[in-house]
């Protein structure tokens, strides 16, 4: 199924990915990420936006992202049937584009489909999948550490 809509594109590791703009709440440059003791290695702390706290998920372990962090993408994801808000750092140069979404020709890990925009094709990030992977890995790690 193809449909035309607006998407937010951003660099993640060596690739440029896209998310449907409906899923993206904000692109922000937070003054601070607040950290506190917890057991989830994938979560590095929280951002405070409009009186709400938003967990920051570090996707570098999956995408090999560099240290430079210009922008945090705040987006909605579905985790175990619940809609959660999550922030993840990207290295800037985010764009809002129009494009056409299509299914990926083959199943690729953490890719939910393809976006055709401006003569190029970008993978659409499977944010639900990557967040679930990060959280479940963290829970498994915490379980092993406890034993």
């Amino acid at each position: 199924m193809n449909d035309t809509a607006r998407f937010v594109t951003f660099p993640l590791g060596a690739e440029c990915y896209a998310l449907d703009s409906i899923q993206v709440k904000e692109l922000v440059m937070p003054s601070r990420v607040y950290s506190f003791p917890h057991t989830m290695p994938a979560l590095e702390g929280v951002l405070v936006r409009n009186g709400a706290v938003i967990p920051v998920c570090d996707l570098r372990s999956s995408f090999g992202q560099g240290k430079e962090r210009n922008v945090y993408v705040i987006a909605l994801c579905n985790y175990q049937g619940r809609t959660e808000t999550v922030a993840f750092p990207v290295s800037g140069d985010c764009k809002l584009v129009q494009g056409e979404r299509s299914d990926a020709p083959e199943k690729v890990t953490f890719v939910a489909g393809l976006l055709r925009t401006g003569g190029r094709t970008l993978p659409l990030l499977d944010l639900d999948g990557i967040v679930a992977h990060c959280i479940q890995s963290g829970l498994a790690f915490a379980g092993e550490a406890k034993q």
């Binding site: 904000e26 979560l43 929280v46 009186g51 967990p55 922008v71 959660e84 999550v86 809002l96």
Partner: protein
């Protein structure tokens, strides 16, 4: 058409969720392992000095718990003991800083799925700071390891 988004600007694609903050009664702020925490004042029975540590060890009373160590922060510098009601457990902490009233507390975000959901009741939003609010109901019973250590005293 492509619109570049300059990093300093905020792109509001969807309306941000309204804050779900509530207020709690007075809280006592303390530090352990270099991190600031808070506990509701009405959950605290008393606060003892580190000098009274021997008294805590010798007399039948609250089991002392190294709070920083329990959270994985390493052995803490135990200067004060926050005795939680009903007096079975004393959290060993570095410093008791102050008491503050009616802070806003928000639930721990749902993606935090580990032991922290038991450790904390939520997060306090203070000016320029986010402070975990200790869940006294979890900590008022001393952890097994601390109980065993206490039985040897």
């Amino acid at each position: 058409m492509t619109d570049s988004v300059n990093p300093p600007r905020t792109l509001h694609v969807a309306r941000p969720a309204k804050p779900v903050a509530a207020t709690v009664g007075p809280v006592i702020m303390f530090t352990a392992g270099g991190v600031r925490f808070a506990v509701e004042a009405n959950e605290v029975q008393e606060i003892r000095d580190g000098d009274e540590r021997n008294a805590i060890h010798k007399l039948k009373g609250p089991v002392p718990v190294d709070f920083a160590q329990q959270l994985g922060l390493g052995p803490g510098k135990l200067e004060r003991y926050v005795v939680l009601k009903p007096g079975e457990c004393a959290l060993g902490v570095t410093q008791v800083e102050r008491m503050t009233s009616l802070p806003k507390v928000v639930p721990l975000p749902g993606l935090f799925r580990g032991a922290e959901r038991q450790w904390y009741r939520g997060l306090l939003l203070l000016e320029n700071e986010v402070v975990p609010l200790v869940r006294a109901a979890y900590w008022r019973k001393p952890p097994i390891a601390a109980q065993e250590a206490g039985s040897e005293r």
